[in-house]
Structures are given as structure tokens and as C-alpha cells.
């Protein structure tokens, strides 16, 4: 998932980026500019799938998948571009998105559509030339029609699942819980054991597979032997393919070197050839080879599975060994050379994207990727983990500032000031990077998700994708399986199970609120609705996951995780030591604030009646502005450090999570191969997408305005500043949301103007960590954003700006003053 902070798109003018001058080499500058080009489609993967499926028609599924990998990698276009030091391309284009069979269902619908066509749509455009269009239309789609995972699932899904929890087939287009997010996808997210590859090489892993294979002949082995044999055979095919693929780059680099006139470039190409000849098949020997190895594995993973959030884990931890060897001990490389290599590696994450459907892309604009590098935090034994590579990553990010990779920094009480301060300088640049992960809460969440592990293991947690916390390479984390739009549940509870937008009776009959004698009755109706829908959603997810287990095996990725080899079981079938399924909650703040309004105005103060409230909501608040203002201003809201409002947010979270726990206890609603549902606050820009799901809400929200994002307060209602917001969040039972949930904070970049401001910001980060906030990301605001706030004051009432010796809410100032501040903002240089 992509965690583009919601204001990132208007970040450019008037903030730190304008006055920041990069110091990276000319090479890096050129490479950095090269990725600023339109995304193009690449059809090679689909062609290979077609070919392999024909050729290996009668093979078992897992072998077929291995053969697709083999066919694809044997024939796929490879290139080493000018200036490149790290080799390996995911698609045939300089910046490309692969088309694979699973996408043919939505491509069929959207290709050539006057609104949704990939070249026309307003976001995440992908160029498809006429020749490619013809091939997709005439060759690929006809071939894959009826053969994709989505087709298969829709064929076997029960009428009930299709109606209740599949958004694409339900007759109501506003169902509260959605379980068809993985219909067109491979399994994901996951994180390979990069450290193992770096130290043992793929050859070492191959030996392990052969050893496991040999065990099957032991007399005490009785069950599932054929499935296991097929699996190991498939893994071996993919490992051999992978090593041969790297060899193709070695050959190419050698050929290019032979023809290269410039002696310096010639030498570089020879070095690339040598590195690709050696890794990832063998252990890496130095910094360059380690980077090459990690990158090649990353490329190979995406040739095996089509998923968007395969992450890099604790990069600074497993790479430090090689940095130390090359730069500190053997001194074969300088710090600057190491940094340039890292930058060349870092930029490559931007060379590709996932082709997403029109709708799904709108949930997560920004080409859909979330390849996260995690740095910092603590070591297994509880010491500070920051090292030279941590700083090197911060320096690389500062120089590059491209959307990918996602960059997460774990912080804890022992994180040195120097690292935090460097991170703060990055925040000032306004990219929202790094995102900060507080170890204190992360470890509590680990305890919830991995109760059988120890504190040492919990300290190894990483971010997989956007905000999803897990233990690396022992977990198969199916992060993005279900979304619960909680304000919709509230709507159903207030309308006896009827959707107010389409009028259908979609939920259970939980009564007319006019008959609810107390708040307890409201809560009961809400709980009943949650219970009903969770059960249906789990059923839907179970179906999708079991269908993936039939068809979406990932033998190469399985070889890089812990569990599959030992069990002889593919990742898609529960092979990893741990398997989890992420379900997300959207609209926490809207739901909590609405309940607070009902509690206070209808039951406690008896200021209004249910008739008034229901009538106003039905009218989408039109003609009821005074009542709406009372609901907005007359009742405390979540995010202001107000115990009454915050306790409603806690209640909502706990109520929902009680159901998640209950589903986990009821094993029949989990996929047959086990695992655990884990909840999270919603991520990406789904708050905007899901705005039109519920009708008007008691908190004064007008249909179809965006919902509150993630676990942040509703837009514009938090009026007591950032410390009040983090205090409110700290009261929530977020340890139960063991998969994560970001808090987005908007700050004026004036708050980060001076060196002293940076020190204060560092203190604020430390306070956040101590308060137990798990994931925080900062938007540093540009003047464009301020102009937008002038136009739409109501949704920007929380915007804090520095006025003079004090701070004020931007929207409370007069137009003249606002312009004044905007002008000052633009003049300010640092």
C-alpha cells in the first residue's frame, strides 16, 4: 500500500525543497531525472505466461508457476542503462508496469474506455502504444479470458459472498465490509530473507532445498509426499532460473564493456559483470556486491509474484556487515563511493509500477507501490541499532526525494539525537519521509501478533508495505484483504440495517433508533451490525485466500522465507511459520465523533431528538445547518485530548477488535491452512475513496466528503494542536491493531525554520514515542496548500501556522492576514 500523505501532491512551492541544493554526483542527478518519465506498459510477462501455460499444460500447478517464472526470465528483455552501477530491470521499459494475466479482467473493461483508459485517467497514467493495444485486445485478453484468478473466484463464490462482501458484484454499491481486494492479485506482502541470501547465496539455499528433498525419502515420512516433491522441484527450477538470470546481466555487462570506449565506464561495466557473475548465487563479498544481490533478489521477487509491497526489512542491519568491511575495515571504498552506489540502488525502486484498475488506483494513487526500507530501532538485545548505514540511507533519501522506496525509521528512547536530527532535516523537505515508527508501541503490537515469541524477536519488527508491522521472513503477511468502513456500520445501526443511499435492506434488522431508550441500545445495535458483517467478511476472505492457494503459488518467494522449505509447503498455502491477513478499519474518527454526538445531544443533554437527527441526516444536512453546527461545535471531538470524545474512539476500536479476536478463535472462518486476522487503521488515500460509501453522518459530515484518514482525527476538528492529537491517539487500544495504522500530522514548515525548531521537533518525536504512538508521518505545508486552505476553510480548521511570536489557526485569520502569511512563507528561505 502506498502511504502518500494526503497533501503530498501540493507540496512543491514555498517549502524546503525549493531552497535545498542536492550535492549528489552528476551521475546520480541524471539517473534521478531519468525516472521522471511516463510509465509504459510491458507485455513480456503475459506473453511468457501464455507460452508456459500452453507448454506445461499438464504439469501440477506449482510446477506451472515455476515454469512461467523460467520462461519469463529466459526471454525477458534485459538492459543496463547509461550511468547505472546496479543492474537489474523489472520490466522491459525504463519506467514500466508489467501486464500479467491477472489484470486482464479489468484491462478488458478499461482499455479504450473514454474515462478509465490508462492513458486518460487522471492519476497513475500508463502509456500503451497502438501495437500493444492490439496485442492485448486480440491475443492476450482472449487467451486469459475465464482463466484468471478473479474469474475463478467469481465462478465458485456463493451468491451470499458475492452479494454481501464483494464490491464488484454486490447489488448495493456501498457495502460496509469489502473482501474482494485480492481478486486480481498474487499473494503479498512478504519480505525475503535478504540476509540469508547475502551470506549463503542462492546456491546455499539450493543445497538446503536438496537436503529437505532428500528427507522425503526417509521411512517416517508418509503424508503429502507428492505435493511436497512437486513443491521442491518447483523451487529448484526457480532457483536455477534466478541464478541464470543474473548470469545474463554478467554477459551483457561484459559485452558492453568490450565495446565501451570510455575507460572509466568500461571499468564500471566490468565490475557490474563480475558482481552479477557472483551474486546472488554466491555470498556477497563487499558493499557493491551486497547491493547488487539485494536488488537482483528484489527484481526476481517481482517476476515471481505480482504484488506491490514486497519490502526490504531492516536494511541498515543486514547491510552494515558489508559497509563495515568495504569502507571501514578494508578501506576498498570511500564513504562517498558507498553513498553513490546506494543512491543508484535507491533510485531503481522508481523504475516500475503496478498496473492497477481505475478504482483500485484511486484508493492508492502514486503508482501503487510500497517497497519499504526500515532503519533504526533496537537490536535483538535491546541496544540502539543505528549505524553508519542508517545515516547513509538518510543521506541518500535527502539527495533523491523520489516516491520510492518508502522509508521508515524506527525510534526508541536510545535513538541518538544526531540521527533524529538528520531525519528532521528530511521532514523539513516536505516529502513526508521518513515515517516514524515508535518502538514502544510496536513491541506491544508484536506481543499481540506473535504471543509465542520473545522480546528479542519482537525487537526485530519491520514495516512491510505502508504501515504493516511484522516479523520479517518468517511471516507471510496477506496485508490487504478486507476493509471495514465503520461509519457505514453506524449508518446501518441507525437505519435498521438499510443502506440510506440505495434503500436496500443489506444488514440485519437491529431496530429503529427512535425506540432506543439509552445509549446502551445504540451500542448494542452497532455491535450486532459489526458482528454480522465481520462474519461475512471473514467468509469472503477465506474464499479468496483458498482460491489463491489453489492457483497463485510462489515457489521462488517461498525459497526466501522461513517455513516453506522446512514444511515443504508453498507460501500461498500457509508455508511460512506465521501467516496473517490484514483487515482495515476506515473512518474511525467519523464513527467515534458521531457516537459522541448521539450520546451527548440525544441522551445526556437531551438537546435534540432522534427525529431531528434522522431527518437532518436524511436531508444530507441541507436545511439543518444550525443543528449541524451544534453537532460540530457543541460536542467534543476525537483528537482534542478530551476524555469523553477519545473514549468513544477507544470503544469503537475495541468493539471492532473484539469481533476480530472472535473470528480468530472461530477457526472455521480462517483459510483452511490457518493463520490469523490482524487489524489495522486504514492507509493510503482510502479515506477519500470511501467518502461516498456512507451517507451523511451525525458528526456533521456531509455526503460524500472524505472520511477521516487512518487513525487521525476528522479533518479540521482537532483544534488543540499536535500534542493534543497525539495524546488522544495514545489513549486508544492501538496495541490490538497489531498490523499498524498511521497518524498523519500536518505542520507548517515555518515550525521547522530554525535550528532550534529542529531541536524542538526532535523532542516532539521523542515524546510521541514515549506516548506510545506507533506510526506518525508529517506533512510540512506549502503555500499552495495554504491557498487551498483559504478556499476550503472548513476542512482546514486544524491548520496551525506561526503568526509571530505565537501560532494561530490559519483559517481564523482574515483573508488579508492569510495572504500575508503566504507571502511571508514564500519569502522565507533556509
Amino acid at each position: 500500500m502506498s502511504t502518500v500523505p494526503s497533501d503530498k501532491r501540493v507540496r512543491n512551492a514555498g517549502n524546503g525543497q525549493e531552497s535545498f541544493t542536492p550535492t549528489c554526483s552528476e551521475r546520480v542527478q541524471r539517473v534521478k531525472n531519468r525516472v521522471l518519465r511516463p510509465m509504459e506498459i510491458c507485455l513480456e510477462r503475459a506473453r511468457a505466461e501464455m507460452k508456459a501455460l500452453e507448454q506445461y499444460k499438464n504439469e501440477p500447478g506449482v510446477i506451472q508457476r515455476a515454469r512461467i517464472f523460467e520462461t519469463y526470465l529466459k526471454e525477458k528483455t534485459i538492459h543496463i542503462l547509461e550511468d547505472e552501477l546496479i543492474a537489474g530491470n523489472i520490466t522491459s521499459k525504463i519506467r514500466g508496469a508489467s501486464f500479467s494475466s491477472e489484470m486482464s479482467r479489468f484491462v478488458d473493461e478499461e482499455l479504450g474506455d473514454p474515462v478509465k483508459d490508462f492513458e486518460i485517467r487522471p492519476y497513475d497514467k500508463v502509456i500503451i502504444n497502438p501495437k500493444e493495444r492490439k496485442e492485448i485486445r486480440e491475443v492476450l485478453i482472449p487467451y486469459f479470458k475465464g482463466k484468471t484468478l478473479g474469474d475463478y473466484i467469481l465462478e465458485i463464490a456463493s451468491k451470499e459472498v458475492k452479494e454481501k462482501v464483494f464490491s464488484i458484484t454486490s447489488s448495493c454499491s456501498h457495502i460496509p465490509f469489502i473482501a474482494d481486494l485480492s481478486l486480481d492479485k498474487d499473494i503479498g506482502h512478504q519480505m525475503a530473507n535478504y540476509e540469508k541470501v547475502l551470506h549463503k547465496g542462492l546456491k546455499g539455499i539450493r543445497d538446503e532445498v536438496e537436503w529437505c528433498q532428500a528427507q522425503l525419502d526417509q521411512p517416517y515420512q508418509h503424508f503429502g509426499l507428492q505435493e511436497k516433491r512437486d513443491f521442491y522441484k518447483a523451487v529448484l527450477i526457480t532457483l536455477d532460473t534466478a541464478m541464470a538470470y543474473a548470469g545474463r546481466y554478467a554477459d551483457l555487462a561484459r559485452e558492453m564493456a568490450a565495446e565501451e570506449a570510455d575507460p572509466k565506464r568500461k571499468q564500471e561495466l566490468e565490475h557490474i559483470a563480475e558482481a552479477c557473475r557472483r551474486v546472488p548465487a554466491n555470498p556477497a563479498r563487499d558493499w557493491w556486491e551486497a547491493l547488487q544481490s539485494v536488488w537482483m533478489i528484489h527484481v526476481l521477487i517481482h517476476c515471481d509474484v505480482y504484488n506491490l509491497a514486497n519490502s526490504l526489512g531492516r536494511f541498515d542491519q543486514y547491510m552494515h556487515f558489508f559497509y563495515k568491511k568495504s569502507v571501514i575495515d578494508e578501506k576498498t571504498m570511500s564513504h562517498d563511493e558507498a553513498l553513490e552506489l546506494l543512491e543508484c540502488f535507491w533510485i531503481k525502486f522508481n523504475e516500475w509500477a503496478i498496473l492497477l484498475s481505475y478504482d483500485v488506483a484511486s484508493y492508492q494513487p502514486g503508482q501503487g507501490l510500497s517497497q519499504t526500507i526500515t532503519v533504526g530501532g533496537q537490536t535483538r538485545d535491546g541496544r540502539d541499532a543505528c549505524n553508519e548505514v542508517t545515516m547513509l540511507c538518510l543521506e541518500a533519501e535527502e539527495q533523491l526525494g523520489r516516491p520510492q522506496p518508502e522509508f521508515a525509521m524506527r525510534i526508541w528512547e536510545g535513538t541518538p539525537d544526531s540521527y533524529l536530527k538528520k531525519a528532521t532535516e528530511l521532514i523539513r523537505l516536505g516529502w513526508g519521509k521518513p515515517k516514524f515508527i515508535g518502538d514502544r508501541k510496536a513491541i506491544q503490537m508484536m506481543a499481540k501478533a506473535y504471543p509465542d515469541r520473545t522480546i528479542e524477536d519482537w525487537r526485530e519488527c519491520v514495516i512491510m508495505g505502508c504501515s504493516e508491522l511484522c516479523l520479517p521472513h518468517i511471516t507471510m503477511q496477506h496485508s490487504w484483504e478486507g476493509v471495514c468502513i465503520l461509519p457505514k456500520i453506524l449508518e446501518l445501526a441507525l437505519n435498521d440495517g438499510k443502506c440510506t443511499l440505495c434503500g436496500r435492506q443489506i444488514g440485519p434488522l437491529t431496530g429503529d433508533p427512535r425506540d432506543f431508550e439509552s445509549m446502551a441500545a445504540v451500542k448494542r445495535a452497532f455491535q450486532e451490525q459489526v458482528f454480522y458483517w465481520m462474519k461475512h467478511m471473514a467468509g469472503g476472505i477465506k474464499l479468496v485466500k483458498e482460491a489463491q492457494a489453489e492457483r497463485m503459488m510462489a515457489p521462488f518467494c517461498s525459497s526466501l522465507s522461513e517455513g516453506p522449505l522446512q514444511k515443504g509447503l508453498d507460501l500461498s498455502r500457509g508455508g511460512a511459520w506465521y501467516t496473517s491477513y490484514g483487515i482495515y478499519l476506515a473512518g474511525l474518527a467519523d464513527t467515534a465523533d458521531s457516537l459522541a454526538v448521539i450520546d451527548k445531544l440525544i441522551y445526556c443533554d437531551k438537546k435534540i431528538t432522534w427525529d431531528q437527527m434522522l431527518e437532518a441526516i436524511k436531508a444530507n444536512w441541507e436545511g439543518h445547518e444550525n443543528l449541524r453546527q451544534l453537532c460540530i461545535n457543541g460536542v467534543p471531538k476525537y483528537g482534542n485530548d478530551d476524555d469523553f470524545a477519545d473514549s468513544w474512539a477507544s470503544w469503537v476500536m475495541n468493539t471492532w477488535y473484539d469481533e476480530v479476536d472472535w473470528i480468530n478463535i472461530r477457526k472455521d472462518l480462517l483459510p483452511y491452512y490457518g493463520g490469523l486476522y490482524i487489524g489495522a487503521g486504514i492507509i493510503g488515500q482510502n479515506n477519500v475513496t470511501f467518502g461516498p460509501w456512507p451517507g451523511a453522518l451525525p458528526n456533521g459530515r456531509i455526503y460524500p466528503r472524505p472520511l477521516a484518514d487512518c487513525i487521525s482525527p476528522s479533518p479540521g476538528v482537532d483544534k488543540n494542536g499536535p500534542t493534543a492529537v497525539v495524546r488522544s491517539v495514545s489513549k486508544l487500544p492501538t496495541h490490538r491493531f497489531a498490523m499498524g495504522g498511521p497518524l498523519n500530522l500536518r505542520l507548517s514548515h515555518q515550525l521547522l525554520a530554525t535550528d532550534r525548531d529542529l531541536d524542538n521537533f526532535v523532542s516532539f518525536l521523542r515524546a510521541i514515542e514515549e506516548l506510545g504512538i506507533y506510526h506518525t508521518q508529517f506533512n510540512v505545508i506549502s503555500s499552495e496548500f495554504l491557498r487551498k486552505a483559504m478556499k476550503e476553510p472548513e476542512s482546514h480548521r486544524d491548520l496551525l501556522v506561526r503568526v509571530a511570536s505565537y501560532c494561530a489557526y490559519f483559517c481564523e485569520l482574515t483573508e488579508e492576514q492569510q495572504l500575508d502569511i503566504i507571502n511571508r512563507t514564500e519569502q522565507q528561505a533556509w
Binding site: D641, S805, L813, T814
Partner: protein
């Protein structure tokens, strides 16, 4: 808390409590503005803090003409005819009944009576933030030292909870008041508006005699001082005055910094909301280079100086 029953119930009018301010002393601080000030500076940017009584403020652009306020007004002071909202200030007694029924916050009652306990609860909320940033609370206003007993008890309560205390004062209070609270104060933000007594009277309504002598006495007691100078073009930005401030500041042994606060007109909206005239609306803002020259001048006296604003 060792308090007698009088102070436990004692209240003072609070204009606002702002959390996470970063320009009112070291670290991240909660800023409390009290109502009531003995000075009437022409350039005052917080006019709603001048009077030590609650008063209503109007924000007509928020008004949705629901007309709820009209019938509740005991003095019939509100007029909504003609499409705009106005209040006859001559008859309005600031009872605040209109604000209670105004859901859009187009009418707000400024000034809320709060007890020491209530203030302490608010301030303690950010204790973790103070700890990491070496911040705390800064009391300001208005003039925070107006009510000696209340202030003493309040600051004692802060101290007891280990909250760092800064006081932003105009300095025009009896020495006996300051003496009482000195043990609980970590630093002062001390405003010096003009060194010339006559001009000081003209621009602020009071003499600067107490302000200067109190500052000296505070310095003798070794309580850190930040001298704050609002820089108002044509009023107090002459070289002569700035040099006089510097010479005065140079003799303060506990001086930490001289803060220059350049004029801004951002208080204008506040005057409008109170239906007051803004006395210095026409003065141009001070150019950056002029301000920097003043800063250099201050620094030539071997004083630390920063521009705040």
C-alpha cells in the same frame, strides 16, 4: 497541595490556552493568556486580553442567520437586519447568553474563569513533551502577575508538579508581587517598550519607572531574563532608543537574550471582532534589512539577540 480554601476556589479569567508553542521560552510550551492588562500599548496585538472581564467577540462571516441569539439577549443589543450581524456595544453587558446559543461560533464569549486545579490539569497534559524539550508553561496575557495571591498559588502548584515556569510580563506591577512569585519562576520574558519615560507614557499609558527598576531587581536575584522589544517603526525603533535599551540590558547580569519582535498587523482582526479601532493600522511593516541592522546594533553590545516573528 497546601492551599487554603480561598485559593482552592479562586479563579481567574483565562483568554486562551495554547499547547505546543515554540516561541515563548525554551522548548515546547503551553501558553496561558490571562485577561487584564495595566498597559494600553498602541500596537497591542491581543486587545481582547486588555480588559479583566469577559467580553463577546463577533465573527460575522460565520453567522448563518439562525436568529437564535436575538431573543435570548436581555438588552436587545443584537441586530441581524440588513444581512449582517451587529451588536450594540453601548447596551451589551457581555453576559454571553448569545454565545451559548450560537452553534457556529459567530459570537464567542472571550474569557473563561478557571481555577488553579483546572489550569494545572490542562498544563500537565503535555508533561511528556516538556520533559523531552525542556519546556513547560509560559503565563502571559494581558498581564499574568495582576492577581498576586492567585499567581503565587498557581506557580507554586506548577513547581510542585515539576513544570517549568516562564512569565511573560510587561513588568508594570508592584515589586512586592514579583518578589512573592520569584522562587517559582524559571525565567521572565520582559517587555521593554521604550526607554524614554515620556514616550512610554504616551504609547502605553503608563510610566516605565517600575518596569525598569523591577527588571533590575529581578536580575539582581539572578532569575534569567529575556528582554523583549516590540519594534514599531516610528515609535520606538530610533537608534537612540535601541541603544538605550542595549545599555540598560547590558547591566542586567541575568540577561539571556534580547528578543526583537517586529511589528505585525495580525491583531487587526481581533480589534474588528471587538468592534474596536486599531490605532496603528497605517504604519508600514518594518523591512527585513532594517530589522537585521537593529539586530547587529544589539549584538555590537555583546548581547545575544534574536528576531522572534
Amino acid at each position: 497541595m497546601t492551599r487554603n480554601s480561598v485559593t482552592a476556589t479562586a479563579k481567574r479569567l483565562v483568554l486562551s490556552i495554547t499547547r505546543m508553542t515554540i516561541h515563548n521560552g525554551p522548548g515546547i510550551r503551553t501558553l496561558i493568556l490571562f485577561k487584564g492588562c495595566p498597559l494600553r500599548c498602541l500596537w497591542c496585538s491581543t486587545p481582547e486580553a486588555q480588559k479583566d472581564e469577559a467580553e463577546i467577540a463577533l465573527y460575522p462571516n460565520r453567522c448563518i442567520h439562525c436568529e437564535q441569539c436575538v431573543p435570548v439577549c436581555p438588552t436587545n443589543a443584537i441586530d441581524l437586519t440588513g444581512g449582517t450581524m451587529s451588536v450594540n456595544r453601548a447596551v451589551c453587558d457581555n453576559c454571553g447568553k448569545c454565545a451559548q446559543v450560537c452553534h457556529t461560533e459567530a459570537i464567542k464569549l472571550l474569557g473563561q474563569e478557571m481555577t488553579i486545579e483546572e489550569l494545572l490539569t490542562e498544563v500537565k497534559k503535555d508533561a511528556i513533551v516538556y520533559k523531552h524539550s525542556r519546556g513547560g508553561v509560559t503565563i502571559s496575557g494581558g498581564e499574568p502577575l495582576l492577581n498576586p495571591e492567585f499567581t503565587q498559588e498557581l506557580l507554586r502548584a506548577f513547581k510542585k508538579e515539576n513544570v517549568g515556569v516562564g512569565v511573560d510580563t510587561c513588568g508594570h506591577v508592584p515589586w512586592t508581587t514579583i518578589e512573592k512569585v520569584l522562587p517559582y519562576i524559571d525565567f521572565f520574558l520582559w517587555d521593554i517598550k521604550h526607554m524614554n519615560d515620556e514616550k512610554h507614557r504616551k504609547f502605553t499609558g503608563v510610566s516605565n519607572k517600575f518596569i525598569l527598576s523591577n527588571a533590575r531587581s529581578v536580575s539582581e536575584r539572578n532569575v534569567p531574563l529575556y528582554i523583549r522589544v516590540p519594534v514599531i517603526p516610528g515609535y520606538n525603533d530610533s537608534e537612540e532608543n535601541i541603544r538605550a535599551v542595549c545599555e540598560f540590558a547590558r547591566d542586567l547580569s541575568s540577561l539571556v537574550n534580547v528578543d526583537l519582535l517586529p511589528l505585525h498587523h495580525l491583531g487587526k482582526a481581533r480589534y474588528n471582532s471587538l468592534n474596536l479601532a486599531y490605532p496603528i493600522a497605517d504604519i508600514p511593516l518594518i523591512p527585513d534589512d532594517v530589522l537585521h541592522n537593529i539586530k547587529k546594533m544589539v549584538e555590537s553590545y555583546q548581547l545575544n539577540c534574536s528576531i522572534v516573528g
